[in-house]
């Protein structure tokens, strides 16, 4: 696989008030790569990927996606980039007021208004099949379990056929069995859609399954970088503490 | 999504439409009570004084509200045109000789224009035409009239009080009449005299009625009657003579008549008179001149002396 960088982050800084969350993050993600960012709560993992999609404005640093600097884009150009990126939120973030079908149709209809209803329905069914939840099409988000919400959330990001998917704590708040199901789903999606992924997690099992490269974030900087095996056998006690 | 849409969209539509209907119905009704909507026509009238009439005040016909004032504007320094907007359906009841007047309505004293129907004309008023108006009796005029009569009353009462004061304080005739005892006595005396006089008059008439009295004789004796008759016929004759004389006078042959009627004579008489007048005048002048002439002064002096002498002699006598 040739190395083609799709995401380049250089010297990213962000602080909330006096709390300096990010103090110079540098990372590069190549096309087809699955990067896992490990870190403890509050280490700035989520902030990093939220900066990446423009949800949070960075204080300093360069954010390059597909060769374009996020900070220099206007709203329209940013939205064009956003359409190529899927973002799976920690809570799933399904729209409460809409059924699963409407949740999925919402983005699709918005960006492709010329699409006929049958075509929209066909695409919805396709992504639901991919996440294995065809039967939930007419339920409301409040009727779904936590794992189902995550899967529908993933389905919603998949419907716009993204090139990059950012997973924010995909297994958080789930029991181990459901978490493994989600991990498998992520793997199958990576294969099927040929996406580049950044997976943020503190679940080491998830990291092991989904990532082919792992970074550990500490105090707003990248502490360690390497494959699962490399890090498991790291000389650093602090790094090894993740794996126990 | 479509399924759920149809569930609520009709309710929303109903809600909005009924709400807007209520609003527009209210607007319409307010408008129709102000005649802004619906078919109306305009009438104009002129007033000297609108006494506080305002735009949007009501117009009444026989006590029924038929319209409102649309416009009030000056056309000269002493007259104001009032434009009224009136419902079309009452137009047939307003004839060309209808009269407009300004009155007050209700407790709050809103001004209204009242149209009183005329009775002679059969023609219905035209749109935008003028009708005559009756000026309201102005309170101010009323007050000034009232003030005049009050002033008069004041003068009268003042004089009355003066008068009664004088009576009470015993000056003047009336007071004397009413209060002087001497006057009363003399009045009594004259009354007594009068009584006496009337008594004698009674006696006199009694005597007159007596058959032997001169007067009675005069009235009753046939001799006297004859002589009276004779003298009366003489008198008749003389009047007849006078008649003939005046007739001849009028006929115009006599000198007198000529004098009175002939214009030529009158003219010559006139000129004679003027000549005479100038003659005497000149004589007067001459005499005056003579008086001043030193030659004749002596003569005049002598004459004067003589005159004096005669006068002295006369007085001595």
């Amino acid at each position: 696989m040739q190395k083609e960088p799709v995401i380049v982050i250089k010297n990213l800084h962000k602080s909330f008030g006096k709390n300096k969350v990010l103090r110079g993050i540098n990372l590069t993600v190549n096309k087809g790569e699955d990067l896992v960012i490990l870190g403890r709560s509050g280490s700035g993992k989520s902030v990093t990927i939220k900066c990446l999609v423009g949800l949070i404005d960075a204080d300093e640093g360069e954010l390059n996606i597909f060769g374009n600097d996020i900070a220099k884009m206007n709203y329209k150009e940013l939205n064009a980039i956003r359409l190529r990126i899927g973002f799976l939120f920690q809570s799933g973030a399904l729209y409460d007021s809409m059924s699963v079908r409407d949740n999925l149709a919402f983005t699709l209809k918005h960006h492709t208004p010329h699409l006929k209803n049958e075509e929209v329905d066909a695409q919805i069914l396709e992504v639901l099949e991919n996440v294995g939840l065809e039967e939930a099409i007419d339920s409301m988000p409040s009727e779904l379990s936590g794992g189902m919400v995550k899967r529908i959330g993933l389905a919603r990001t998949l419907i716009i056929k993204p090139e990059i998917i950012l997973y924010d704590e995909p297994t958080a708040g789930l029991d181990t069995i459901t978490a493994r199901e989600i991990d498998e789903l992520i793997l199958s999606v990576q294969k099927k859609y040929k996406t580049t992924s950044i997976i943020i997690t503190h679940d080491i099992a998830c990291a092991k399954m989904t990532g082919n490269r792992i970074m550990i974030l500490k105090d707003g900087v990248i502490h360690t970088e390497g494959s699962y095996e490399e890090l498991e056998n790291s000389a650093d006690d602090w790094v090894r503490s993740f794996f126990n | 999504m479509k399924k759920r849409n149809s569930n609520y969209i009709w309710k929303l539509g109903m809600f909005v439409i009924i709400g807007l209907l209520v609003f527009f119905a209210t607007l319409y009704f307010i408008g129709s009570s102000q005649n802004l909507f619906g078919s109306t026509f305009q009438l104009k009238t002129k007033f000297k004084n609108v006494s506080g009439l305002k735009v949007d005040n009501n117009v009444l016909l026989s006590g029924i509200n038929i319209g409102s004032i649309k416009e009030i504007e000056f056309i000269s320094d002493s007259s104001v045109v009032v434009v009224m907007v009136i419902k079309n359906e009452v137009r047939q009841y307003i004839k060309t000789d209808a009269l407009a007047s300004i009155g007050s309505d209700g407790l709050m004293g809103d001004k209204v224009v009242t149209i009183s129907p005329g009775n002679k004309s059969d023609r219905v008023v035209e749109d935008d035409s003028y009708i005559a108006s009756i000026e309201e009796v102005e309170l101010q005029d009323l007050m000034s009239g009232l003030k005049k009569s009050i002033d008069n009353a004041e003068v009268i009462t003042k004089e009355l009080s003066e008068f009664s004061y004088k009576i009470n304080n015993g000056e003047g005739m009336l007071s004397k009449i009413l209060t002087d005892p001497q006057l009363a006595k003399s009045v009594q005396k004259s009354m007594l005299n009068l009584e006496e006089g009337s008594d004698q008059f009674v006696l006199f008439t009694k005597k007159m009625n007596d058959k032997n009295g001169t007067f009675s004789k005069l009235m009753t004796d046939p001799y006297y009657t004859n002589s009276i008759k004779k003298s009366l016929s003489g008198l008749e004759k003389s009047t007849a003579d006078i008649n003939t004389f005046t007739a001849t006078l009028n006929n115009g042959n006599g000198i007198v008549s000529k004098l009175l009627t002939d214009a030529k004579l009158a003219k010559s008489l006139d000129s004679t008179m003027t000549n005479l007048q100038t003659g005497t005048k000149k004589l007067n002048e001459l005499e005056e001149a003579a008086k001043h002439n030193f030659l004749l002064r002596g003569f005049f002096r002598k004459q004067e002396k003589e005159k004096k002498k005669i006068e002295d002699a006369k007085s001595n006598k």
Binding site: Y95, H111 | K11
Partner: protein, 252 residues
Amino acid sequence: MIAYLKKNFYEAGKLSMFAGRFFREIFTRPFYSNEFIRQCYAIGFKSLPLVSITGFIMGLVLTIQSRPTMTKFGAESWLPSMVSLSLIREIAPVITALICAGKIASGIGAELGSMKVTEQIDAMEVSAINPYKYLVNTRILATTIMIPILVFYADFIGIFGGYIGYNVHGSLGLFRYFSEVIEHLDFLDLLPATIKTFFFGFFIGLIGCYKGFNAKKGTASVGMAANSAVVLSSLIIFIIDMLAVQITDLFF
């Protein structure tokens, strides 16, 4: 003290910018008409029972309460027009707006607040959908249009309540009552009152959205957003009402 003032000025400035964004974005495509209609339904139709009941009770109570005074002045026949005038000019708009501030502003505040907390607004943002347009514009526009319509209902039902209240002691036909009411009404009674209800609606929507949109993280902030939305919008309703009365007084 200065910090407190600064905080309030900061809030006011943010609110103004939020309102400014509404006017900037209302004229650009796309417009989410489905969401707008849904919000109209939720705000207008669903508030109707509440507004009707309060309007009816206001008309009824106002008539019954004013009757003794009016009778004292021998102006009992003025009761229908007086009650309807005060309803149309002041009471119906303000009461309806306050009821809606309680129901709608808190609802919007809580809804958007929870959407913010559960990252739904962020989700919309990263799906390249402008959440401001979709969530805020539709809601503000819906309140701006629906509140006046609710006020028309409140006017009408309130006046009808006045009719019932009048007939508790007196007797007057429905037609006579309404013609009495209409006769003393003027466009000047109706129009300024209607115009100010648009402002009421706008601010109810604006403040509900603002408070919800700016909710912090955590479920507690959702409750706070709803609460402060009600408080602020009620306050602003009274301030607008005062301004509206003064402006109306100035011009007419």
